[in-house]
Subunit: 361 residues, 2 copies
């Protein structure tokens, strides 16, 4: 484990992406999305993804020189072809445009097809929040998630991010629609730990507690033709009696708004070959409905009442976003943590490209 400053991380990443033929502007954006994830403590979506991205470039799954193509556009809507470049690039383009459109039209919507992984969903909806707007961001993913009563993974972990302007920071609800993301299981597997709850099942819908066993299932169902059965559960757990069909419904909503609406691949068809993910974005101007400062005050007052509810001893009530903004400030001041595997990967990448790897703090 080492710590590096977020500015050193950004400088290094910009150099790497530039060497891999991304434009200066795209390199800066990609670096910012990864640094932003690390600062927020979402390290599963930070610099540890770099080697994976670079491999996909080498395999021509990602094409760094391609520019996104706007296929259709109206004052309230956009259909974009990401042109097989990083999902981040078309997504930031889409949200920038939606912010302009929404300030004129109260609401607007964008769909992206032919895309790749786009980092954290929250990055784009936070762009809207910073402009005083409500932001929504969705992506489909590789197939990991098992529908209610099914033995086989079919749905993606299908991220959903929703932001609402508030002080001292926006409300940011950002994560997989499934009970957990695949990355959370991967993290426990790396540490050799047990899964604490009902997160993953085997091919007979038996709950899998060993994170390595679960990770073994996920690596097959999400990335290969081999389908042993099992995968990640929908929110609501293994049994219908805790309404896991509601988690199933939430995952399907994202599938419909992404792969279906974009006419890209559905998650089930992305386990081999190119990613071909699709993304969905929306922005709404709350100031049409009321004065923005009044609305923000009402939000803050509601959140404070929730934080101060009577609670279980030794616990806190955290509003979505609280934790990541706290970590952001800490990591900005004290640096972001890089695990040993990633440290080694960064050194290899630096050597290959003849640049300096980021210095430990």
């Amino acid at each position: 484990m080492m710590k590096i400053s977020s500015s050193a991380e950004a400088t290094f990443l910009e150099q790497v992406f530039a060497k891999y033929d991304f434009s200066k502007e795209d390199s800066a954006l990609l670096a910012d999305t990864l640094v932003d994830a690390d600062l927020r403590g979402i390290s599963s979506h930070g610099i540890q993804r770099l080697a994976w991205y670079l491999n996909m470039i080498k395999e021509h799954i990602i094409e760094p020189k391609n520019k996104p193509i706007i296929l259709k556009e109206t004052p309230t809507s956009l259909l974009i072809d990401a042109n097989q470049n990083m999902g981040h690039i078309a997504s930031a383009l889409a949200m920038k445009s939606l912010i302009e459109k929404t300030k004129k039209s109260v609401i607007s919507v964008a769909v992206i097809r032919n895309s790749n992984h786009f980092g954290t969903a929250g990055y784009y909806s936070r762009m809207a929040a910073e402009a005083g707007l409500i932001g929504i961001s969705n992506t489909n993913t590789r197939p990991l998630v098992v529908p209610t009563n099914s033995k086989d993974a079919f749905l993606g972990s299908n991220a959903f991010a929703f932001t609402f302007p508030a002080d001292p920071h926006p409300f940011v609800f950002d994560g997989a629609t499934s009970v957990v993301s695949g990355g959370k299981i991967q993290l426990l597997a790396k540490k050799g730990e047990q899964i604490p709850g009902e997160w993953a099942i085997d091919g007979d819908r038996g709950v899998v507690k060993d994170a390595n066993a679960a990770e073994d299932i996920l690596s097959k169902v999400a990335f290969t033709e081999e389908q042993p059965g099992g995968g990640v559960l929908t929110l609501g757990g293994n049994s219908e009696e805790n309404s896991n069909y509601k988690g199933f419904g939430n995952s399907l909503v994202v599938e419909l708004l992404t792969g279906i609406l974009a006419q890209g691949s559905i998650s089930a068809d992305t386990n081999t070959g190119k990613h071909d993910f699709s993304q969905f974005f929306m922005a709404i101007d709350p100031s049409f409905f009321g004065d923005l400062e009044v609305l923000k005050g009402n939000v803050e007052s509601m959140f404070d009442r929730i934080r101060n509810l009577d609670k279980l001893p030794g616990t806190q009530i955290m509003i979505p976003g609280d934790r990541e903004y706290k970590r952001y400030d800490e990591n900005k001041a004290h640096g972001v943590s890089i695990d040993d595997t990633t440290t080694k990967q960064l050194q290899d990448i630096a050597t290959e490209l003849n640049i300096q790897s980021p210095a430990a703090l």
Copy 2:
């Protein structure tokens, strides 16, 4: 238990609402929303609510002669004051307008304040689906739902409905964002049954299995100043380890889009006095992104693949909407079921208004 034909139910309801000073058009709409819920097997939102609605009229919580007021309007947006009439009236007005707006502008949004209960969320999003559009419908409710780690109810069961055009019927995902609705617990309490899963907790976050004990908690937290603690859990159950903070986040999203955006009451403040609920609606035109028939074909093909996945013995994989459309056809043919308490209430209402109560089949 008796069965009545849905047409007899509609005729009776139209007469009742007309006697209570609703306009002919509003009476027909209100009757249709209740009959529709009964036909779909959502009896918690059907004719069994009639006595409750009529009581609220007598108490001037609902004002039948008031007309909704459009406070602000653009080609893509609406802000409506329901003027303390039934939520159904302003909601149907909003969705009718959004359908027109969305056919011209790809997307549009409406918010309603100063409203009451609006029936099933799905009624309005299905209006969009029938017009070939994606529909979204939300409402906040009385406070029932306990945030992660909290001992006290604060959030509403906060309904979310999402529809997407498909054949032979649209995708309809419609329900409380909490693990279950209050109505589901009420139903078990009436039958004296145990709660099968983690649905409700007491003031120490202990899971309550006795439906009558749970119902007793809910009737206090949702309708009185008395706050014994406890309530309905968020989707994800009692413990953080199964990601109940995701269910909490989903509930908060609805709270932000309704009570906050409308500048009405938040759910926490509706336990006494007038309802003052708020509603949020949206419609999106999928045909901007692709040919509607192609999209519908892709949806149906995805759903068929899901339905045919390897499954647990003795189970089915149901797509949201499947169950309610099946019940709709059955109940249309064979009549809707009315429980004994409701049958008695309908007879009393008929006597009071000097009209015929619906005849048993």
